[in-house]
Symmetry: C2
Subunit: 292 residues, 2 copies
């Protein structure tokens, strides 16, 4: 049981965490701060936070658990704003979609206090953002990746595991490097492709007409293209090396398929599609798999 | 009201059409044929068809409405198999995802009877195939594209519009060329990309592990990769020119995004993502839009 959650960033991710932590009975008081005062006010009016803080530092004052829920490029500035009030007993976590850059920022800024920071990436989200979409069930049944480093305090790591588990999450631990390589493949590249797909169609003379004809396949394929621009700008830049590596692999695979289409080699083409189709048909999202 | 539906292909699309036509009270008798006798038998046992035909020709014998629901590459052979029993009063339709190749086959094979063929493409489907997934509601609320040619009989075109409308569909008419250009962009390319994405990840050393970490974004983005290999082999080859044109546009757009990522130009990158995000957020699937 925590005394106080200091919430830096009262948007979709932060707001949902606050609601879930409160419902689980894990915290007495939530003090929130957002860059935009109207967001913080909204969060308090909605009951997502109990108290509005006028600065990140004041949100952390008295907190024994801190969540940074800001775009990854704002992580370093947030660490700087709060470091003076961190103690070895504070559990600090983030929810960023990239982990190497966040860990680097933590090392640079937190220094001796880096051990109380447990980097976290919950595999959830919505294609809408903002505290008005905060959802007490956003994390339930989802995976959360923790990427501790060698200097992470074991006590804080264990607390982090316990908190996410209490919220109904399936916790997976891995290195920041492995995390960024994996999510470049299964999340960052799909987003980049979805953005490119939409802009590629919208930029054509008949683009609007084409899109008016699109069906359920297009709807699901492009859903993630509606994601938050600032957040995704940061992710794509922060993880650019792994992302561009994955994009090269994808483009090579695309090229092999196109070569078979051009040459009209139906058998070989069918066999590659069959591989993809079987692989995808046998895949299950981890949260569903682990449901009892 | 039709006397007899001659159903060539008793799979997901054909079986669902039979169920919907029967429920709407639009047909007295359904005679079905599938290449595999066990499929035809299954369809009869499930009540999807009333009578099993041992050949496509016999399914058409006595039919005043015929639906070809076969992979597009089998369209020409199906036309050949049935042409001797077609009369100017028979309404013949298909459900193929490409239309120029189907229309070309119809011209070549049906000749003087080409007027009774109304090319149709219902914008629906599932990532599973087979008569066991036939669904009486598969077409309800969906778009159906009709691509009549200059020699299509107006009476058959009107009958086709009436049938699909009675099944709850929103009917759109366009040329086979416009159809193929539009669906290359909003359906065929997304499928090709989804196949490439899955094979690209699965072919990597840590591919399985990466996929086990994937979340809801990946799930929706790759759903169409589980589609039927034979069907999609045919579509991709049949519409290869439009498809490869669309792929070039996509790859160019992808390259512009990657250039901004490489150069770290966050503002320009954010602005392109914002374009995509707004376009996608404002898009609505036609069937939902037209719901009263």
């Amino acid at each position: 049981m925590f005394e106080q959650l200091g919430l830096i960033g009262c948007g979709l991710m932060g707001g949902s965490f606050a609601l879930a932590l409160k419902r689980a009975g894990l915290v007495k008081r939530i003090v929130g701060y957002s860059k935009s005062p109207s967001t913080t006010e909204r969060a308090r009016q909605m009951g997502v936070i109990d108290v509005e803080a006028p600065s990140a530092l004041l949100a952390v004052s008295g907190a024994d658990i801190v969540l940074l829920a800001v775009p990854v490029s704002a992580t370093e500035a947030s660490f700087k704003a709060i470091r003076h009030l961190l103690t070895p007993n504070t559990l600090v976590m983030d929810v960023g979609s990239t982990k190497r850059d966040v860990v680097d920022a933590a090392r640079r800024v937190l220094r001796d206090h880096v051990g109380c920071f447990v980097p976290a990436h919950p595999i959830t989200g919505k294609e809408v953002s903002g505290v008005e979409h905060a959802d007490v069930n956003l994390y339930a049944g989802k995976q959360v990746i923790l990427t501790p480093i060698e200097r992470t305090f074991t006590v804080q790591l264990q607390k982090a595991v316990d908190v996410w588990t209490a919220l109904g999450c399936h916790v997976v631990k891995m290195s920041p490097q492995s995390h960024d390589a994996a999510y470049a493949a299964v999340s960052h590249l799909p987003h980049l492709i979805a953005f490119a797909m939409i802009n590629g169609i919208a930029g054509q003379d008949h683009g609007k007409e084409y899109m008016s004809l699109a069906g359920p396949g297009f709807r699901d394929f492009t859903r993630i293209a509606a994601s938050d621009p600032k957040m995704w700008r940061d992710i794509l830049v922060a993880n650019r090396e792994e992302l561009l590596d994955q994009s090269r692999i994808f483009q090579k695979t695309l090229q092999s398929l196109e070569n078979l289409i051009t040459s009209g080699d139906g058998d070989a083409l069918e066999s590659l599609i069959e591989q993809a189709s079987e692989t995808r048909a046998n895949w299950r999202i981890a949260s569903q798999k682990s449901h009892k």
